[in-house]
Symmetry: C2
Subunit: 704 residues, 2 copies
């Protein structure tokens, strides 16, 4: 399938606007970089000061070039960029990368220049990356449209390539994007593209992600984000990645106060709220990693292995201590390291001396390496149905000796029965890396990262895009009458929810004492009474709540007391009256809410109610709307999930009803995102299975 | 101060028992290894098959050598080892390292041979390391008493050494010990010793740790543990390390899988089996790391920097994205990345172009590197009182360019104002490593590890050995009368605790209805009634508890009901009667307990009571006894600590009284460790400040 950015990433011709003969400076390096990487297309240097550069005709302006130009790489002073772009557009140039700095990152007039670039792109249809970008590199078509030294070619050094599958790198920081590339190459992971997004006047990370998702030469995607600007394109690309099951490993920085502060100043982007990003990542099965080496370890496993069918890992080693450490590393990530059956132990036991062990971790001992027992153990385990993945833990520091023969190892690995990870506890030698690369092995060097990576690919293998929300469950309703003021009292919030089709207990708002008798007759005993005011968020703090009331006398006394308490504590509050409702049946206290992220839109959240939510940060978010199935997955992701599933002999809670409520509330929030900023149901009481849920309290906040 | 192991680690003479001419095999490699590492003492090969090896006289037996021998390195078949050791002892050899395998790791007769080695060591006073050891390497005295290829010397390659301070490595796995060494050398961290402990027939990891703690050439210790055997020596060495404040970075493996203890009670079942180790590590300020590279990153920072005086970090970079990531990496570990004052920002701002930022993270931009702004920013920050540590985040992949000049950087770092960590997001070049090493810099390569390491050294800087427990607070008492059967009922447990001097509410155990009146008169209303039986661990599960009883009528009814319920649910249980006690005042529910670790002895634990303890594993252990100060530190280490400190407007809890209770219980458990296996106070109700604590329920389990 052709893609609009094909001519960007695979240009048949490139104009270098600002080309220079000075190889010490960035403009001068670009031409050499293109050539050293063996770019096969036409190159047109443009610079009014030269007639020729490095043997190529140099043009005074883009207009002089009498040939179609797919890509203009622009590296001239900021003020000259816009006129150059106008000329490019006039000459029919299809795409441009602006490497020059001095735009939005400087603010003021410079930022205004960037706005004009964006407008030009929109007006002319020319696609523009940057400004302030580090450019891109296509390993596939050998296009080095960047000055990054990471893609420079060292003469006489054969690149290390272990994987046939390739990773594509999309980064909002050029420095980090090319650092991924640099580290990937050192490991032997093949790369399709690296693209840095810069200031994203036109082309953004979302659109680049979209390219990598559809690109046949990209098998795994590494994504580095400070803050997404082309949100719709990003979300569409993310969904597509999930649909075609192409793994995306994402790093989102700006997770701390200081990081956020810097992200805001650095890219002038709306950094957004990390929990909202993580919610989106989780929805689409992105693999989140906040460490460069960990991300590459995950990428390495994905690029060199099939996905595992389960979570049982065999650890194979020649060193007892290292084997225990390897077993810990995967087990502490929640993977199983099962003891092997006696039969398999007996078979493996034949391959090693008596002081080895075949239980798992399997220690073939140093002697087992030289005798071939190591290789045979791996052979056996790859076809055994007792484990789903293998972790080989060895010292691979020798510059002369190797523990596997290529002819033995390659067929076992290329059969692709299950993932086999290779970790060296000593610093792996170049020799070992190159020898094992011949069998498709990436030698890994960080044990915790390996453990995390194995867990991540187990989870990724199980991931599938959740079913969409069932929007038809909630009828479309006009709620505007309920949202005349932005902050609603509990009674008003509940009225809105009822109007929207959410089930709530019957309650009565009583304004005058004379209405109490009728209210009690409707509600029945035992009952709860709560003072109502949009100005009082925490009713119990003002003595505004009475529970378990069982007589009319108490009702009348409570009515007076609640109103008096509220007036005393909050003399300025507008008091609506007192809400009478039935005492709810017992249940597990859960909080369900929705809120709006400035970048990524409506989010729905669920957490264990009470103090634990705050204390242990045990909450899960997803972009709204979610279906009941996805809401169920949210509940499983809570640390407190056991509480809902019959903890310590308690009855199993009605998880299905809770999941449906989360789904319904999420549909409501997403549908009315322009009117409703926030919904909080706290607590929701989840009764035993089959007995449903009760929304005990609710708060809706409208948009201002 | 001389140490008994001086002649082991710095032998003036070495006999190689089992020396060989075959350099391909391990026995043959030892002599060459010693020589290539320039061992300066005398070497005596011993092998009856040769008269000469590699130009040295070879002896038929140790008896033939007419000179004192400090160390015998033994690598002969297992069955020949014991006779050789006898000869060594007879010849007055001071120490031996047995590299040969085939002893305890094989079991049976082979294990018995190891017992004989241990007995020989005890009998003769000769100190023996191994068998099944990988030997040791002393960089200080250039003793390579090992076959590990990690210490082999590559001709023509100058070692990379960045630090003047040295790390000493003690490992129960030779493979891992020398892997630490291999990785440390690659980073440029100087090493004093590497010693592998092997089967520890005589010398164990504890004694080796002791050597490193007192050794003047060792500044930081790396310790790798599978399971300590010489526990008393280990604990003494650990205490000494804390006293002299020599940092110990410890990895304890075997944290997962088998080894889970079967335990009757809730408390012990959560101890896990490395919780006791972690408790000891915490007590002595050991830095726990479960990752090889992380451990080395911490070691690198400690070996090349002063300790920080606080937790405020400045992040300095030339790449916006990398700077944000750096800020995240330290901030997510709980360190501060404060915005700098306007004054400091203005000063630093002068050193960079307008699109840089001085807020923190400080982005001097690529231009700021070449203009010297990077160096000057570091200069300024090292003397600023606004930050306590600096993290420099750069690309250090160039083989020709470097961002600092040695002459500028060295004086700033050698002034040792505060730690400065250097992280490269690209793979650091050998050039950069060597150039920066001249200024004492270890270039670090894993960002998360750097964040963790910075946090760890901040914590380590604050650590001091807690005050010992005040044993005099609890009078010594004979408790044997209370421990006639191993499992005690609540009433019996409480009687034991009272006898030991622990304050508890006055309660009455009622066996006959006729005693109820007197009991009520003593206890008063409201009261609680609980059925008592050593056979009923969970009273509420058999309907054996009634709370908030306010009338005599209820008391009589409850008495019958509780006994009937218990008899119905547990017809076989021996029922003692019903315990009447006062309703406790409200308080934060805490669990306090003690248990016994088979290796490390009595442990005391504290956790938030109720479901959260189990659900969130929020418990803290320390070896018993602890003082009130240390108990207070345990409470601060709980995730739920905010609950005790006036959470959400509640009154601050009586933390001092709780800490004292923990201390007292720990003294009791340690003092009676031979009689008491376990104590569980659950719940302890912690009342508002000044109002003390109430032990609501208690269980004591004696040793069987």
């Amino acid at each position: 399938m052709p893609h609009p950015l094909d001519s960007f990433f695979a240009p048949a011709s490139i104009a270098l606007i600002g080309a220079s003969r000075d190889h010490e400076k960035i403009p001068g390096r670009l031409l050499a970089m293109l050539r050293r990487n063996e770019y096969a297309g036409k190159i047109y240097p443009v610079n009014p000061n030269y007639a020729e550069i490095d043997g190529l005709t140099c043009y005074k302006s883009i207009a002089e070039i009498d040939a179609p130009i797919d890509l203009a790489v622009i590296i001239i002073p900021a003020r000259a960029v816009l006129p150059a772009l106008e000329q490019c557009a006039a000459a029919g140039v299809k795409n441009a990368v602006i490497i020059s700095s001095g735009f939005a990152e400087e603010g003021g007039d410079s930022a205004a220049m960037q706005d004009e670039i964006a407008a030009l792109a929109k007006r002319t249809g020319m696609r523009i990356s940057g400004p302030n970008a580090e450019g891109f590199f296509s390993q596939v078509q050998r296009v080095a449209a960047t000055f990054s030294p990471a893609v420079d070619v060292k003469p006489g050094v054969a690149p290390l390539i272990a994987t046939t599958r390739r990773i594509g790198i999309v980064a909002q920081s050029g420095g980090i994007g090319f650092a991924y590339y640099h580290r990937a190459r050192a490991l032997g992971i093949a790369v399709s593209y690296v693209v840095s997004a810069g200031n994203e006047s036109d082309l953004g990370a979302g659109e680049f992600l979209d390219y990598m998702v559809q690109d046949a030469s990209t098998d795994v995607i590494l994504l580095f984000i400070e803050g997404i600007r082309d949100v719709d394109k990003f979300l569409a690309a993310a969904r597509r990645a999930a649909e075609v099951k192409k793994p995306v490993i994402v790093t989102k920085v700006g997770r701390s106060g200081a990081g956020e502060r810097a992200a805001a100043s650095h890219t002038a982007s709306m950094a957004g709220w990390s929990a909202a990003y993580d919610a989106v990542f989780a929805k689409y099965g992105f693999i989140i990693s906040n460490d460069l080496d960990e991300a590459l370890t995950i990428a390495a496993l994905l690029a060199s292995n099939p996905l595992p069918k389960g979570d049982r890992v065999a650890v194979v080693t020649a060193s007892g201590g290292a084997g225990i450490w390897g077993a810990d590393a995967v087990a502490l990530q929640g993977l199983q390291v099962p003891e092997l059956s006696e039969q398999v132990q007996a078979e493996i036991g034949k391959l090693m001396p008596s002081y080895g062990t075949a239980r798992n971790p399997i220690d073939v001992t140093a002697q087992g390496v030289t005798s071939g027992g190591l290789q045979k153990s791996v052979d056996l385990l790859t076809v055994s149905d007792e484990v789903d993945a293998i972790l080989v833990v060895l010292s691979l520091s020798s510059e002369v000796r190797k523990p596997f023969k290529e002819a033995d190892l390659t067929p076992v690995l290329t059969a692709h029965h299950k993932p086999v990870a290779f970790y060296s506890y000593t610093v792996p030698s170049d020799f070992a890396r190159r020898e094992l690369a011949k069998s498709g092995v990436v030698v890994l060097s960080g044990l915790t990262h390996v453990g995390v990576a194995m867990r991540q690919i187990v989870d990724y293998a199980k991931f599938s895009l959740p079913k969409p929300a069932d929007e038809a469950r909630l009828p479309a309703r006009d709620l505007s009458a309920h949202l005349k003021s932005p902050v609603l009292s509990e009674a008003d919030s509940k009225a809105l929810l009822r109007a929207a089709g959410i089930a709530l207990p019957d309650e009565v708002l009583v304004k005058e004492k004379s209405e109490l008798d009728a209210a009690v007759a409707g509600v029945g005993f035992p009952l709860v009474m709560k003072v109502q005011s949009p100005d009082i968020a925490h009713k119990s703090e003002v003595g505004g709540v009475r529970v378990n009331i069982t007589t009319k006398g108490e009702v009348f006394l409570a009515f007076e007391a609640l109103l008096n308490n509220a007036r005393k504590h909050r003399p300025e509050a507008a008091i609506q009256g007192v809400l009478l409702g039935p005492m709810a049946k017992r249940g597990v206290e859960i909080i369900v809410g929705t809120m709006t992220d400035g970048t990524l839109g409506s989010m729905v959240m669920v957490g264990l109610g009470g103090i634990t939510t705050e204390l242990f940060r045990d909450v899960v978010y997803r972009p709204a709307p979610v279906g009941a199935e996805e809401a169920g997955a949210m509940l499983k992701a809570l640390k407190a999930a056991p509480l809902l599933n019959g903890f310590r002999g308690a009855a199993r809670a009605d998880v299905a009803a809770l999941a449906q409520l989360i789904a319904d509330i999420s549909v409501l929030a997403a549908r009315h995102a322009k009117e409703i900023a926030q919904i909080e149901l706290n607590p929701v009481l989840v009764h035993p299975e089959g007995q449903g849920v009760t929304i005990a309290d609710a708060l809706v906040v409208g948009r201002k």
